[in-house]
């Protein structure tokens, strides 16, 4: 007993040190996971007021550019509406089933907090459960893929940015349809890596890369970026460097897209697994 007490007094600082590092490590391993970001979310709740205030001042500086982008997006949307309307009119059938036709539900949101300089980047948007945002919805910027929602509170949501080592996306080369896995390597916020494309496939610099829609999170055909460079990797595959379309440094207005038929797809797929 005496020896034990001696031991404790002699090494008490080491014990405190190990104890505190234990707590830190516990927080680190339980709080940083992909889907286990509840802690992250609740912690963010406390600092959100400050973040919103910082955002208010910084957003002022980029209003001009944002307006231009919104105007351009408006034009593009009007054009696509025009196309749709014409198509409907040319149909012989008069039944217009708008409920079953719509697969994706769009909600626009603003990014109020964002980072690009970490290895695991997240961003916060100003819509939450009350506005119909749910975990696993896709976040798409005006120019391309931005991230996936990982946590929601009542009025805010946290999304995992594409610039996160844990982010994985099924993407394909638009011209020939070969698909692979897209991820970020933690280096530069402008580039990502597309792997698992076999070497017999013809790849050209400048080819468009888009999402496949296999994951039931992202709709099919959302632009990710263009091929910047490629090299042989291992025996069979290419490692393709992708220039991302979305400029994460300027991420501001995003479109949160929910797949309304996701559960149906996943349940059906589960039957065959």
């Amino acid at each position: 007993m005496r020896n034990l007490l001696n031991f404790l007094t002699r090494y008490n600082n080491l014990i405190i040190f190990l104890f505190l590092e234990g707590i830190a490590f516990y927080l680190l391993t339980t709080g940083n996971n992909y889907h286990n970001s509840r802690l992250l979310n609740s912690v963010r709740g406390m600092t959100r007021g400050i973040e919103a205030r910082i955002y208010n001042t910084t957003s002022y500086l980029s209003l001009h550019e944002i307006n231009e982008n919104l105007a351009a997006e408006n034009v593009a949307l009007k054009n696509s509406i025009g196309k749709l309307v014409r198509k409907e009119n040319s149909l012989f059938s008069t039944v217009n089933d708008s409920v079953n036709k719509q697969q994706y539900l769009h909600t626009s949101a603003e990014v109020i907090e964002n980072s690009i300089n970490r290895q695991k980047n997240f961003f916060t948007i100003n819509k939450g459960e009350s506005q119909g945002i749910k975990v696993d919805m896709a976040v798409i910027s005006a120019s391309g893929v931005a991230g996936v929602i990982v946590g929601c509170s009542k009025n805010y949501s946290v999304a995992m940015s594409l610039l996160n080592l844990d982010f994985k996306l099924s993407a394909r080369i638009k011209s020939n349809g070969y698909f692979g896995s897209l991820s970020w390597d933690g280096r530069d916020y402008r580039y990502a890596i597309l792997s698992e494309i076999p070497q017999h496939v013809i790849v050209n610099v400048g080819d468009t890369i888009e999402t496949t829609g296999y994951s039931a999170i992202f709709p099919e055909g959302v632009i990710v970026g263009t091929v910047r460079d490629y090299e042989k990797f291992g025996g069979d595959f290419y490692k393709i460097s992708i220039l991302l379309m979305t400029d994460f440094k300027k991420l501001h207005f995003v479109d949160v897209t929910g797949n309304m038929k996701k559960t149906e797809q996943l349940e059906l797929e589960k039957l065959f697994k």
């Binding site: 040190f17 680190l28 992250l40 600092t47 910082i54 300089n117 970490r118 440094k249």
Partner: protein, 168 residues
């Protein structure tokens, strides 16, 4: 006693505000992320009990984690920096030992001593932090580059703050 608690409380709040409101928002590139809040650990009195130093490091890291949305990362690195501080002080001790009383600042011990002291602790802190962030040894040298560049910038800002304090 009360006076120094108030003074360190003020330094603590100022440094955390500086880190959260300014340096966390710099986003210069992935390679340069200055973390100047570690200056608080550097400035604590030399004869502070080790357990108190550890607890204060823990609190500092935890608060920075709260504001950066990165549970545990800064806490771990800062507690580690607080743990090695007494050893580093012993390694770079002056020939005539430390005076009891004054804080380890540039004012008392001079520029060269303060620079080596800051360099060692910031390096320990940043190395722990950045390798913990990546959490793997792939890209070892790239992470090392991030550590070195960020250390450079952190030390620059820390010295600027110290020069400003001396100028007053």
């Amino acid at each position: 006693m009360i006076n120094s608690i108030l003074r360190f409380g003020l330094i603590f709040i100022l440094l955390i505000l500086l880190q959260v409101l300014l340096f966390n928002n710099i986003q210069f590139s992935g390679y340069v992320n200055p973390y100047v809040y570690i200056l608080f650990i550097l400035l604590l009195p030399i004869e502070i009990p080790a357990w108190l130093l550890l607890l204060l490091s823990f609190a500092t890291g935890l608060i920075i984690d709260f504001f950066s949305g990165s549970p545990g990362m800064h806490t771990f690195a800062t507690v580690f920096a607080g743990f090695v501080r007494p050893y580093i002080l012993r390694i770079i001790s002056l020939s005539d030992g430390y005076e009891s009383g004054p804080d380890p600042s540039m004012l008392v011990y001079g520029f060269r001593w303060f620079l080596s002291y800051t360099l060692l602790i910031v390096l320990v802190h940043h190395t722990t932090l950045f390798y913990l962030e990546v959490f793997r040894f792939a890209d070892f040298f790239r992470t090392l580059l991030r550590v070195l560049l960020s250390t450079l910038f952190s030390i620059t800002f820390i010295l600027l703050i110290e020069f400003y304090r001396r100028g007053k």
